[in-house]
Amino acid sequence: MANHGNEAAAVHHGHGHDHGHEGHHDLEALRQMGFWLFLITDCILFGTLFATYIVLHHNTAGGPTASELFEMPGVIAETFILLTSSFTSGLAVLSMNRGDRKGLIGWLIVTAILGASFIGLELSEFIKMVGDGAKISTSAFLSGFFTLVGTHGLHVSVGLCWMIALMIQLSRRGITPVTRRKVNIISLYWHFLDVVWIFVFTIVYMMGVM
């Protein structure tokens, strides 16, 4: 409902009837740009967590080291799942551009299922580690590891909730300029999470077991 209010405001700001849609389009484009700026600041957040992890990853305090701890089959599966979900979120945007609401929601569901299985794998990995005595308090290396990978996992979980809410909104309102912008934004967010995971995979896991 709040969005409808904004739409009305956007139309009122346009000078004439003809300019109404143009002004509206500009507003949605500006919101998308604002989201991009959020992603850049999120990059800086992950940058600091990566810096912390890289600096601390030798300080294992007698606890398990990276190469003893990481089990690559699960991590490789997570990587391919997230890569595929990045692709399917792109397919959702393509369906939207064709005006195909069923296709859009369908691909969003596929993306959400892939995201949920990623989170499931990551959680079972974490639970197993903690069960083996590799807790966040065990060493500086593990504090850095759980904070970095956990923050990424939290981002994916938030994205999942958001995606489900958006699917409900899409099924009720259809493809409007507002829901269209929201789908563009969540797909951008999802690609961004995939980019962050590529660096987690490379710097944490691959360099850890190397």
């Binding site: 409808h4 739409e7 009305a8 849609h21 509206h24 389009h25 949605e28 484009a29 740009m33 991009w36 700026l37 850049i40 600041t41 990059c43 800086i44 992950f46 940058g47 600091t48 990566f50 810096a51 912390t52 890289i54 600096v55 690559m72 490789i76 990587t79 391919f80 890569l83 595929t84 990045s86 692709f87 792109g90 397919l91 945007v93 393509l94 551009n97 005006g99 259809g174 493809i175 409007t176 300029p177 269209r180 951008l188 690609h191 961004f192 995939d194 980019v195 590529i198 660096f199 995979f201 490379t202 710097i203 691959m206 360099m207 077991v209 190397m210």
Partner: protein, 111 residues
């Protein structure tokens, strides 16, 4: 609010229609290849030490570029390219934080 003006608005705004199925498939295949290369090369010990580091970092950066170009449509942005400028600023800050931290903390191992 009626639906009609909205759907009209979509048609008006469709000049920003980003990407095609082809570009998404190319991007997906490239990102799969760029994931398999470091996996095969490093886990089978085909490269070691610094060479392995280079392979890992180069494929990760290429993967990043593939995502930006084929999935996030960075090249299709209209001028002025605010998104690209914001991204460059972000990369400069992230590299300063990460490389600066690593550089400074290296001295812990020396002293």
């Amino acid at each position: 609010m009626s639906q009609q003006p909205h759907s009209h608005g979509i048609n008006d705004g469709s000049h920003e229609s980003h990407g095609s199925l082809k570009s998404y498939i190319i991007g997906f295949v490239l990102s799969l290849v760029l994931t398999v290369i470091p996996l095969v090369a490093v886990l089978n010990d085909m490269v070691n030490g610094n060479a392995a580091l280079v392979v890992l970092l180069v494929t990760a950066v290429l993967q990043f570029i593939v995502q930006l170009v084929f999935f996030m449509h960075l090249r299709e942005e209209k001028k002025p390219r605010w998104n690209l400028m914001a991204l460059i600023l972000g990369i400069v800050i992230v590299l300063t934080i990460v490389l600066g931290s690593v550089w400074i903390m290296e001295y812990n191992n020396i002293v």
